[in-house]
């Protein structure tokens, strides 16, 4: 009774044929990539890649399953100056991590509104970043937090910033024979963070999302970062907001100024999710809300 997809005919959303390989170690996965080149792709949770392959937006001759590396690549390690998160850490693990939420509450904010609990059981941090979808929420979180990405290849590791990591929609700095293995988040005292998202229905992609991270000293903003999703070719960090906010007292006026900059700096497109004007309005409003909430969190802690 075994049925092949050829027998089932049209109307099936299934990927085109490929060879399935299973990685047993990071080095072995890199070795396979080195040998197979860009005909091969790593698959982690598969919840972005497999839908793309079903739609023929992505086609590969080889899929290398790295789920067996989950144990090795899912550590959340808190160090004095940074938190290191393994690339195979699943959404659910990010959501449930109290250590992560204590330092970066933006993670729990975002993870509660990424897809749904069942999808979050599979999807991973690294897979989300490597998909490089401009609407993807974790990418905006990493941009907001000024994360850096550890990319491993045959000759060792290199570390790139989020700005360097995302080169354009669905394009990253990860080479054909390389693998994202870890994401590092710098920790500075006196800071907190928040994430705000508007979507059409629960678990959907964002119409617009905004992340904010702020650092305060006696009510004065010593630094601030804002990252936006779904309003440009990548999840854009906005240095102009950081410049405008540094040295200013945390206030409604300054959140409004940041919102104005966000609306003016982003580059949304009119699509089925909304008009460009509406998305600019959201970029403004969500930037204000995220900053307001991040500041409130710093103040709660003091």
């Amino acid at each position: 009774m075994p049925v092949s997809y050829e027998d089932k005919g049209l109307g099936m959303q299934v990927p085109a044929p490929f060879e399935y390989e299973r990685a047993t170690s990071v080095d072995q996965a890199i070795g396979l990539l080195d040998r197979l080149g860009d005909t091969a792709r790593l698959v982690a949770g598969g919840h972005s890649l497999l839908p793309m392959m079903k739609l023929r937006l992505a086609n590969f001759e080889y899929l290398i399953d790295i789920n067996d590396l989950h144990g090795e690549l899912s550590q959340i390690i808190v160090e004095p100056g940074q938190i290191r998160v393994g690339a195979m850490t699943r959404h659910r693990e990010l959501l449930e991590s109290d250590a992560l939420a204590a330092t970066f509450p933006i993670f729990r904010d975002a993870e509660q509104v990424i897809a749904d609990p069942v999808v979050r059981n599979r999807g991973t941090l690294g897979g989300s970043l490597c998909q490089a979808d401009p609407s993807e929420d974790l990418s905006a979180v990493c941009t907001t937090l000024g994360a850096s990405c550890v990319i491993r290849g045959r000759d060792g590791e290199r570390v790139v910033t989020m700005e360097e990591f995302h080169r354009g929609p669905y394009e990253t700095a990860v080479g054909a024979a390389e693998m994202l293995v870890e994401v590092r988040f710098p920790v500075r005292p006196g800071g907190s963070s928040a994430y705000e998202k508007v979507e059409r229905r629960a678990g959907d992609w964002a119409i617009v999302s905004a992340g904010a991270a702020v650092w305060l000293d006696g009510g004065i903003i010593t630094d601030a970062r804002v990252g936006l999703a779904a309003v440009g070719p990548n999840t854009a960090g906005l240095p102009a907001i950081s410049e405008a906010l540094r040295g200013q007292p945390a206030s409604e006026e300054i959140y409004a100024r940041a919102g104005e900059i966000a609306a003016a700096s982003c580059n949304p497109a009119t699509d089925m999710r909304g008009t460009a004007d509406y998305k600019r309005h959201l970029a403004d409003e969500l930037t204000r809300r995220a900053l307001r909430r991040a500041v409130a969190r710093v103040n709660e802690r003091v």
């Binding site: 009774m1 075994p2 085109a16 399935y20 497999l50 899929l63 399953d65 609990p117 059981n121 599979r122």
Partner: protein, 165 residues
């Protein structure tokens, strides 16, 4: 390629294509048609099964990826001929009309109750938020899960209709 996994406690080995989705492996190769195949885009959740104890959408997991893992489907809910309390709850509280979403809903509900034996209505709604029902408006599904939770806690106050015991 060959794949082996445990499905509802039974070791199975089959020759498959690398691109075969787990939902089609279960339905077409193992004839376990309790798992439904709906949207194929991980939106509707009727294909939810357990992989190593966690609910997953089997239209977005390759059968090959399930190799070496433990799968539990709706056929594995009843134990020794005795319906799971979640299944009883869906019967008692009209948790289904057409029944298409039911296998996925019940698998997610079972996982929820295993980790959280007395969930709030909000927690139940959150747990099933990745699954679509077009008949019930979800109210009776929530009630069914609450019935099962009360049944398991021994705090249920109503007698199941049609219960012989």
């Amino acid at each position: 390629m060959q794949v082996s996994m445990t499905v509802n406690g039974e070791e199975v080995t089959r020759e498959i294509e690398g691109r075969l989705l787990l939902v089609h492996f279960l339905r077409d190769h193992l004839a376990l048609t309790g798992t439904h195949w709906g949207c194929d885009t991980s939106n509707c959740g009727t294909c939810v099964v357990w992989m190593d104890g966690e609910p997953v959408k089997s239209c977005t997991v390759l059968a090959a990826m399930a190799g070496g893992h433990e799968i539990r489907t709706v056929e594995g809910l009843a134990q020794n001929g005795q319906l799971d309390p979640v299944q009883q709850g869906f019967m008692e509280c009209h948790g289904l009309q057409c029944g298409f979403c039911t296998p996925g809903m019940m698998m997610t509900a079972r996982a929820l109750l295993d980790s959280n034996p007395s969930p709030s209505e909000g927690e139940i709604r959150e747990a099933i938020s990745g699954q679509i029902c077009r008949c019930t408006g979800y109210a009776t599904i929530v009630r069914s899960v609450q019935w099962a939770a009360a049944e398991e806690a021994g705090t249920r106050t109503t007698t199941p209709a049609g219960s012989a015991s």
